[in-house]
């Protein structure tokens, strides 16, 4: 098993989501321990946690492409709900705030619950979507590791935990939206995995910019971790948007300033 996902080849080859997930887990765990060691290196951890969003978006894409029928949004909320509830329960009510075992607990519990519920959906509700259990746990696990790293970056400046509780809702709904939006934004007959995953990278950088702004404003002694996150996210955002825009221009039928739509008399 290689540590890197294969780059998108010239012919239409799809990257299996499980490889994206394993890459995301490994980089997420490394990012967590870097953050424990030295909070000022938060900008490296944030780069290492963007693959988690890509993996989650890939899971949503696989499930919805086979016709989930209830709308592409719902599966994203459900996955993030499991991941977020697991993380919140671990961090804020267990006896140690950020102990050495958090990422493993969070990933394992999130994966297990996601797998079991996906399994229920496959066997009991019988939805006939291939690999449903596997994609479900990819979504929940990715959401869990992403939220864990973000919470730790926001608290690494030494903020007292009372102020951190106020950022729960935005972290939750922000993660849900960036996991499900890449596929929803690419909905159409000509959707392909490369463009969807590049859009997932752009949006991951966008949402970590917002989290960076929130982190800079939190009342704590040192805002260096959050400032690092903000700057790196803005740089990443610009780079990814250029890559994604190049792919969109290749894929679009025609790019014009304005015109009369074909087939309608004017």
């Amino acid at each position: 098993m290689t540590m890197q996902a294969e780059p998108p080849a010239v012919e239409k080859k799809e990257i299996p989501n499980i490889k994206l997930y394993i890459v995301a887990m490994i980089t997420g765990i490394i990012g967590y321990y870097i953050l424990l060691a030295n909070p000022n290196l938060a900008f490296i951890s944030i780069i290492l946690v963007w693959p988690a969003i890509v993996a989650g978006a890939g899971g949503v894409e696989h499930l919805c492409r086979y016709g989930l029928g209830t709308g592409t949004s719902s599966i994203g909320y459900w996955g993030t709900a499991v991941g977020a509830t697991v993380v919140f329960a671990t961090i804020f009510v267990s006896s140690q705030v950020f102990n050495l075992y958090s990422p493993f607990i969070v990933i394992i519990v999130g994966t297990v619950i996601g797998y079991i519920v996906g399994f229920c959906a496959e066997k009991i509700i019988n939805m006939k979507i291939p690999q449903q259990a596997q994609q479900s746990f990819i979504i929940t696990g990715s959401a869990a590791i992403f939220i864990l790293i973000v919470l730790e970056v926001l608290s690494a400046g030494g903020v007292n935990t009372t102020a951190l509780y106020y950022t729960f809702p935005v972290i939750y709904i922000g993660t849900a939206l960036v996991i499900l939006h890449p596929y929803n934004g690419n909905l159409g007959a000509g959707e392909n995995q490369t463009r969807t995953l590049m859009l997932a990278l752009c949006e991951a950088a966008l949402i970590t910019t917002v989290f960076g702004i929130i982190g800079v404003l939190l009342p704590n002694a040192s805002f260096i971790p959050a400032l690092g996150v903000l700057i790196i996210s803005l740089i990443g955002f610009v780079i990814f948007v250029r890559m994604w825009w190049k792919k969109v221009k290749e894929d679009t039928y025609d790019v014009v300033w304005t015109g009369y739509p074909a087939g309608v008399e004017h």
């Binding site: 719902s74 459900w78 709900a81 509830t85 267990s94 006896s95 705030v97 729960f168």
Partner: protein, 240 residues
Amino acid sequence: MDPITAMIGIIIGGVIVGICVHFIPASAVGAMSASTGIATGPSMLSTGCGLAGLYAAGFSITLGLPITVVSGALGSALMIICTMLLANVICAFGTGVAPVAGTYDKDPITGWRQKPFMSPGTDGHSMPTATAVSGIIGALLGGAGGSLVFASVYGMLTSPAVVAISPKVAAISPATAITIAGMIAAGVFLLNCVLPAYVLVGKTEGMTDPKMKKLPKTLISCTVASVFIGIFIYIAVVVI
């Protein structure tokens, strides 16, 4: 509140939220006045309605469990009846259609016939009486279930038994405990409202719809999910 009772409260609340999605009439195609029900997807409508109930329950959390649950249920019912009444207003004056349902021929409550008033080619539009009653019942259940989860988590976080065991929980002030409990309740809502949407495939007309026969499937899936979440919260609070 005893932690074990609180855990059972979380599980039961989650299952009730799952059941309520079957009762609230919702369909995405209703936005084009092409099918009966409120014009949103079932999962998001139930979440919105339950969260309105959670808001109403928040005012009385410090007054005890029964009033929190009833208050939450009525907050949700208020939201659903306002939404249904005004959706009927828009259909009547904006699109020019009368409320009819597609799943029954004569309304069980008022006895009015449905087929003559149905637009040709569609499956009904907006909400006649029986569907509205089903919506109110669903909202009462959803609000009650969500408020039960909220009150249970709050009870678990402030119970004297847990505070004695874990110094981390003792350090949480009641105001913060209310917010944490609210977030976990919102998470349980979103979890348990999406699973029935798998069963319903995006559209339901409430208690008169034949899809109610699939209720046991929802019961099993939501029970499994809620049991795991409930046990995990219990472990996180009490054991670790």
